[in-house]
Symmetry: C2
Subunit: 228 residues, 2 copies
């Protein structure tokens, strides 16, 4: 409705909503009120109210009782936050001794406070990386992003060797466990055994053998490879 809501000068809250909606509505799907509420740990009515305000600001499209979608404007703002978040994570891991399974919270607060200048300087000293420490792609300053194809480790047949390229970070405890056994993006993994019916998966990584549950296998993503 309203024209250009300056992408800077959005509230901390608004930025969080946009990021959440971006995560929940890939490929033009709709994000529901309750999904957003759950992700942000807010009540459904609070979300309903904010959704109304944001759609009046022109940042999203609201179909009552169906859900919301980002407008181009909203998407730009969301991607800007994603870029910030992932670059901050990368920076903290590279230069300030953070472990890749624990940076999330710090980045969550910093992403609302840094200037564009600072973000770009961090990007520069990092050598303009294209993925963050969890293997998630970092959107370019212009908002372009390409999600490299990947398949969950749980779907790799026994006998294959793959490289972990991404780790789902939505469950912190799992993230910590994965980190504790040395699995992280870049590591080579050989699937030595896979039990049926969502059974345990046996893998070899860096010379050590681990048996992990099917659940964990759905949180680790590998680059699909044509070799052996």
């Amino acid at each position: 409705m309203n024209a250009a809501a300056a992408v800077e000068s959005l509230t901390r809250s608004v930025e969080d909503y946009l990021k959440a909606i971006y995560r929940l509505s890939p490929e033009g799907r709709h994000a529901s009120t309750s999904e957003i509420a759950h992700l942000l740990e807010l009540s459904a009515p609070s979300v309903s109210g904010m959704v109304k305000r944001l759609s009046e600001l022109g940042l999203l499209e609201h179909v009552p009782y169906k859900g919301v979608q980002l407008t181009a404007e909203g998407r730009r703002a969301a991607l800007r936050m994603v870029r910030r978040h992932r670059l901050i994570e990368a920076y903290l891991v590279a230069f300030l001794g953070y472990s890749w399974d624990g940076v999330h919270e710090e980045a969550e607060r910093l992403e609302h406070a840094v200037s564009d200048t600072l973000v770009e300087r961090m990007a520069a000293v990092l050598g303009n990386p294209t993925v963050d420490p969890h293997g998630d792609p970092i959107p370019a300053p212009d908002g372009s992003i390409h999600e490299p194809a990947s398949v969950p480790l749980a779907e790799i047949p026994a006998g294959r060797t793959v490289e972990i390229c991404r780790v789902d970070q939505s469950q912190p405890e799992r993230l910590r466990y994965i980190a504790s056994i040395g699995l992280k993006p870049g590591v080579e993994v050989r699937v030595t055994d896979r039990q049926p019916f969502r059974g345990p998966i046996t893998i070899e990584a860096e010379g050590r053998t681990h048996v992990i549950g099917h659940e964990l296998g759905q949180v680790l993503f590998c680059a699909p490879r044509d070799d052996r």
Copy 2:
């Protein structure tokens, strides 16, 4: 009145008020409502209201119509913010290419977002500095701070050589000018001439001669020295 208002979990606003009051009330003096309002660029009634809330929180002592003073609790919180601010400035200058005359704003936002952990890591990689890029002392984590004695350049008699140890950063334009002619903490300066009646001061620094107004001479502070 109230017991322990956790020093963490203060609002951005509250943190700004405490910092301002700390600056305005050295040595147990009182900060007036209008001074605070002016420094924070708020209306006097806004300050009055916040002062009431903060004194109910036990962070400051309010004597109506006279002014406010920090309590021990408030002082701790304020010093925590000052430490954050100055360490962030030092970090940005040292590692991210900021100039010492332009870091202030960035630090102003970041100081509210960083965790204690991050601040201490920045301090560590900096080698636990005791002064920031403007020469202002950085409070220790326990809140202790020692303001080294210093005198304005404007009061140094002609003929003396001194080292600049601190620069008042309250006027950004002056700060920029000072930086542009190469004057900064650590630089040696010889006062070659000083005109009476708040007249211009002639100095030599790093082989170059500058004539600066008395005003600028009050913004640059030097370590008092017993030598020549």
